[in-house]
């Protein structure tokens, strides 16, 4: 039911590893994210879900430790990203979980709405070459401060030609 990502084999590293959760129905995007995440100079362990419903099931399971951050695709079957965000923010246990929107499209109105609904960052799906640094920037930022950034820091534009 839950596709766990590859985990770091060394135990010593496990303690310092950041648990990252990714919900994306697109297998290729999951692959690129995973590849990019490996390039980020921060120890992480990735867990992926293939749609919103599975994400919410995973988060609702008390056996699972809460991740460091959730990367959330918007356009997913069964339960889309916005719905997931709303549910997370309404859930007292999950409320403080940083949610990073991870989507191809980027519309100001939708982005604003998502920020108002409690998302931390908006990462536009971009070229692979720019992806690792973008993820790194977000994770570092969250390591420093788990609070939501200001609105003008919300969108992480990595669309570099």
């Amino acid at each position: 039911m839950i596709n766990s990502g590859k985990t770091e084999p060394t135990n010593t590293a496990v303690r310092n590893q950041l648990d990252i959760l990714l919900a994306d129905d697109d297998v290729d995007d999951r692959f690129f994210f995973e590849m990019a995440l490996k390039e980020v100079p921060i120890a992480t362990r990735l867990t992926t879900c293939v749609d919103g419903e599975k994400l919410m099931t995973f988060l609702a399971d008390d056996n699972n430790t809460l991740p460091f951050a959730v990367f959330l695709d918007l356009n997913m079957p069964r339960k889309n990203g916005s719905e997931c965000l709303a549910e997370i923010k309404e859930n007292e246990r999950l409320r403080d979980l940083p949610v990073i929107i991870y989507s191809t499209s980027l519309y100001d109105e939708i982005a604003t709405l998502l920020y108002q609904n409690g998302a931390h960052f908006y990462l536009q799906k971009c070229n692979y070459s720019a992806l690792p640094s973008a993820i790194h920037k977000i994770l570092s930022s969250l390591q420093e401060c788990r609070q939501r950034p200001a609105k003008d820091q919300f969108i992480i534009n990595c669309y570099v030609s």
Binding site: D28, D29, F32, M35, T104, K125, N127, Y128, S129
Partner: protein, 696 residues
């Protein structure tokens, strides 16, 4: 005369000057009694016999007034001598003819002052000078006193031959009586003549008044019986432009314009030569060729045999009237032709009866009748409305405004088929007659419906295309991004495992996919410039320019370009589109920079009047925001100044200058969204200027 002179040769031997006879001596000694008077009745001369008979001396009377010398006998209260003589002399002076007076008692004053009874028989004769004025009056008298006395003496002596004497006496008295009678009759006659003369003078005056009036008002000419002009008045000279001398003696044909037929003139001559008055209108030609029309009356004058010997023509100039009538006729004809030939149906209707009065063929056809007769007999407009409810409405408008202007109505033909018509109705000034004009616009209505359908279809298909374009390019982005990502991963992780050839292919693939991404992005932008909601807001273009410069800072730095700008303006614009516009124009300028020069881009903005821009597409009286972006790049051939804005239009091979050929098309769309216009001016190697005009 010469013979006579040559026959009296002896005259030459005793020369007597015939030209210098002594007329004075001759006159004085002439046997008769003569007196010569001046017109003022001064005595100028008297013969000796006269002096003797009147007991006067020449020197005592010459130079004195006649009646001074010979007054009436104051003792004779019935004396009429002076009066009768004065009357006779006046008659002579006035009428310039001799006058014989009746025997006249006119007593003579003796030198001692007493009077001697005398009877006279005088004749007064005028002598004229060269001017036909009376120069002298010759007063000749016979002294008949002895004769009269003899009769009385014989009467008294009562001698023999009583009978004869009686007879002579009777005769003499008779003569005297007669002469008195003659005198009386003469006087009466003279009075009658004077009266007649006065009347004639009056008639003469009237005639000359008539002639004056005729000459002043009309064109008058007389001809002889052959038509040869004998008299013309000033008006004829004026209108014909011939002088009197040129006309007189000519045949009247000189004025013929060649317009009238032979029959016309034959008829004229037949009428006047038979002694009847002819009247008609004649077109004549003046000396200079000018044509004029005259209303003409020709009056023939007949001799004792009833044959015309003279024609008098009286005319008046009616040229203007004829021209006016001609124009009226032509104009009437024009209208008639228009009425007959027009495709518009025209019907006139009597407002009282509702009956049609006239109709043209177009109307007969339009309503599907067989003939005008059938139409006029049967037509009733109210039967032809497709929607009878419109009749009342149209009638109301017509009554209210006197006309119906350009109403579109659906009408019904005789056979029940329908047509659309544009209808015009106008009442005449008395509101008795209405003229209705109908134009069949069925085709137009159909065409308009078709057009409307087509436009709607086009709008729908356009919208579909735009959204297809958007969706396609949007959805194409995803797989493309993935391809590019795989290429990146491949390059990053597997390049060392590939052959050199493989690495080259991979490099080309990377480049091509990047090119495709640009294309899709630009297409999306292009599509969005049409579809995105257009929100106009007040924006400062200096701010927008700064944002553009920031977003392009890396390229600007890379190209080492200088961007100069003067203060721009604040305007109501779609902000993000103006950002796009400036961004595209500046990117364009940077992209096509000259390899040998440091790129320099100058941006200007000002408000200008359309009248100063000399561009037919801009309104003369409007103000415009003028934004210009000028570079010193490679420029372009002016023949491409329009094409440059077409979508996918590229002037350079993609290998040399990267681009999708959409950037300037986006600019054009943006400017059009702002109801403005954009132009490009350039020369190869000398840079380019892009001018944007937005309505202020």
């Amino acid at each position: 005369m010469e013979e006579k002179i040559s026959g009296t040769e002896d005259r030459g031997k005793h020369p007597v000057d015939v030209n210098n006879l002594d007329y004075r001596s001759l006159f004085e000694t002439v046997p008769g009694m003569y007196l010569v008077l001046a017109p003022d009745l001064t005595i100028l001369q008297a013969s000796d016999a006269y002096l003797r008979a009147t007991l006067t001396r020449r020197e005592a009377i010459i130079g004195r007034g006649l009646f001074d010398v010979f007054p009436d006998n104051p003792a004779d209260t019935s004396a009429t001598g002076v009066m009768n003589l004065r009357s006779s002399l006046n008659y002579v002076l006035k009428n310039k003819v001799p006058h014989t007076m009746a025997v006249q008692k006119y007593d003579i004053r003796r030198p001692d002052g007493s009077f001697e009874i005398r009877y006279w028989s005088p004749i007064n004769t005028p002598v004229m000078n060269e001017n036909h004025a009376v120069k002298y009056i010759i007063h000749r008298v016979e002294d008949v006193t002895d004769f009269v006395f003899l009769q009385q003496k014989h009467e008294r002596s009562g001698e023999r031959r009583e009978e004869l004497r009686q007879q002579v006496r009777t005769m003499d008295v008779e003569v005297l009586k007669r002469s008195e009678e003659i005198q009386r009759l003469n006087e009466k006659l003279e009075r009658m003549v004077a009266e007649r003369t006065r009347k004639l003078e009056e008639i003469n005056k009237d005639l000359s008044d008539y002639k004056f009036a005729l000459d002043a008002s009309s064109i008058v000419a007389s001809t002889d019986q052959f038509g040869t002009i004998t008299h013309v008045n000033e008006n004829l000279c004026k209108i014909s432009k011939y002088s009197r001398e040129e006309l007189i003696g000519q045949n009247h044909r000189i004025l013929n314009s060649g317009y009238h037929s032979r029959v016309f003139f034959n008829d004229l001559w037949k009428t006047i030569s038979s002694g009847k008055i002819w009247q008609g209108e004649i077109r004549n030609k003046a000396k200079d060729g000018q044509i004029y029309w005259v209303a003409t009356t020709i009056v023939p004058f007949l001799d004792e045999q009833g044959r015309p010997f003279k024609y008098l023509s009286i005319r008046s100039d009616i040229t203007e009237r004829v021209h006016f009538l001609d124009q009226l006729k032509r104009s009437e004809e024009d209208y008639r032709n228009l009425y007959e030939n027009t495709l518009a149906a025209i019907i006139t209707t009597d407002m009282l009866t509702g009956k049609s009065i006239t109709v043209n063929d177009a109307a007969v056809q339009l309503f599907g009748y067989e003939s005008r007769q059938e139409f006029l007999f049967n037509f009733d407009m109210t039967m032809h409305f497709a929607n009878p409810a419109e009749i009342d409405e149209n009638t109301r408008i017509l009554k209210e405004h006197g006309q119906l202007h350009s109403r579109v109505v659906q009408m019904k033909r005789q056979d029940g088929s329908y047509f659309w018509a544009k209808i015009f109705v106008k009442l005449n000034s008395t509101e008795e007659v209405a003229q209705t004009v109908l134009i069949d616009i069925t085709e137009q209505v159909k065409a308009r419906e078709n057009l409307h359908d087509k436009v709607t279809e086009l709008k729908i298909s356009n919208r579909e295309l735009e959204s297809f374009n958007y969706i396609a390019s949007h959805d194409l982005q995803e797989p493309l991004r993935k391809i590019r990502n795989f290429v990146s991963v491949l390059l990053q992780n597997e390049e060392k495992n590939l052959s050199q050839q493989g690495q080259f292919y991979l490099g080309r693939m990377s480049e091509t996919s990047r090119q495709m991404q640009w294309l899709i992005e630009d297409l999306l932008t292009y599509s969005r410039t049409r579809n995105a909601p257009r929100v106009f807001e007040k924006a400062n273009l200096d701010d927008i320019l700064n944002e553009v410069k920031n977003s392009l800072s890396s390229v600007i730095a890379e190209k080492n370009a200088v961007i100069r700008s003067e203060k721009l303006f604040t305007a109501d614009v779609i902000r993000f589109q103006i950002f796009q516009l400036l961004s595209n124009l500046i990117s364009n300028a940077l992209k096509f920079s000259h390899p040998d020069r440091r790129p320099e881009i100058i941006i200007r903005g000002e408000v200008v009047s359309g009248s100063t821009l000399n561009n037919a597409k801009l309104l003369f009286h409007e103000n415009y925001y003028h934004l210009s972006v000028k570079d010193n790049g490679i420029g372009f051939d002016p023949k491409y100044s329009e094409r440059i804005f077409g979508i996918f239009e590229r002037l350079h091979p993609a290998s040399k200058y990267k681009g999708t050929g959409i950037g300037l098309a986006i600019c054009k769309r943006i400017v059009e969204n702002h109801h403005g216009m954009i132009t490009a001016t350039g020369r190869p190697g000398q840079g380019a200027i892009f001018d944007v005009y937005l309505p202020a």
